[in-house]
């Protein structure tokens, strides 16, 4: 089953594979991104950061909606990643079954303001997170497991 639903604009990287993957004992990682889904080259790149015993599954947002039930029934533990709020919101709305979302990394860009050291958001992105939370999904910011999970109300 999916043990962690995470929004992280770096997608697969050290915090995900080592920081979360080790303590959660994951057997698979689902990377939900429409662009990566159709790029063999980028998929190879992301696979390089993952030990061979962990399966990496690439899916579009639409495919993730279709396959979430299958991944939730998987006896292995998994992490599902999206690179932005929209893809996660699509999954939550389309598939349900997402009890909580971990906001793990949205970094500085023009138009975003700092909410936490690792969370920068535009006003529109903040509104999207509030809407997501209003549907019953628990949204928490936490970059690594040893850090305190911070509720939406504390940084918006």
């Amino acid at each position: 089953m999916i043990k962690l639903f995470r929004i992280d604009d770096r997608l697969i990287h050290g915090q995900v594979v080592v920081g979360w993957g080790q303590p959660l004992g994951v057997g698979f990682i689902v990377l939900v991104d429409d662009e990566v889904r159709v790029s063999d080259w980028e998929q190879d790149l992301y696979r390089m950061g993952v030990p061979p015993e962990i399966e990496v599954i690439f899916a579009s947002a639409a495919e993730a909606v279709e396959r979430l039930a299958e991944w939730q029934a998987d006896p292995r533990g998994g992490i599902l990643l999206t690179g932005n709020i929209d893809a996660m919101a699509t999954l939550c709305a389309g598939a349900g079954r997402v009890p909580a979302v971990n906001l793990g990394g949205m970094h500085h860009r023009a138009g975003r303001t700092e909410r936490l050291r690792y969370v920068y958001l535009t006003a529109d992105e903040a509104a999207k997170l509030r809407r997501l939370a209003s549907t019953g999904v628990r949204v928490m910011a936490q970059d690594v497991p040893s850090a305190r999970a911070i509720g939406l109300e504390e940084f918006l």
């Binding site: 604009d9 770096r10 997608l11 390089m48 950061g49 990394g105 500085h108 690792y118």
Partner: protein, 126 residues
């Protein structure tokens, strides 16, 4: 004579800056390497940092891990270019070799540095 290559050390946290400082301290050469950290960066921001570090020069990107955000950023930046090569698993030994062997094409410099770095990994007898 062709312009010497620049080495860009790409790492998590401040590993890159520490390695660059160590090479400068050992060799006295202060113009061969630039450190780039991924701290606080998404991929577009990392691309900007790499562009600033290379500043239009030919070079080698020395990345800390053979996977993850530093490599992903470097590989995206270097894709399809012959003026930039990538080496992963950066260590001090490979950088020390590199700074004295920069008058070659980037791919050759990368291969040489990787070999020098690999030779430095040993388990000395206790």
């Amino acid at each position: 004579m062709s312009e010497h290559l620049v080495g860009v050390v790409v790492s998590h946290a401040a590993v890159a800056q520490a390695l660059v400082a160590a090479v400068q301290g050992i060799t006295g050469i202060d113009s061969a390497l630039v450190g780039v950290s991924n701290e606080g960066c998404d991929y577009p921001a990392m691309t900007e940092r790499l562009e600033r570090a290379l500043a239009g020069r030919r070079g080698v990107l020395f990345v800390d891990l053979p996977g993850g955000s530093c490599l992903t950023s470097a590989a995206r930046y270097a894709r399809g270019r012959d003026d930039v090569a990538i080496v992963t698993g950066v260590n001090l030994a490979m950088l020390l070799d590199f700074v004295f062997n920069r008058d070659v094409p980037p791919a050759d410099a990368g291969r040489r540095a990787a070999a020098a770095g690999a030779k430095a990994i040993r388990v000395p007898a206790a």
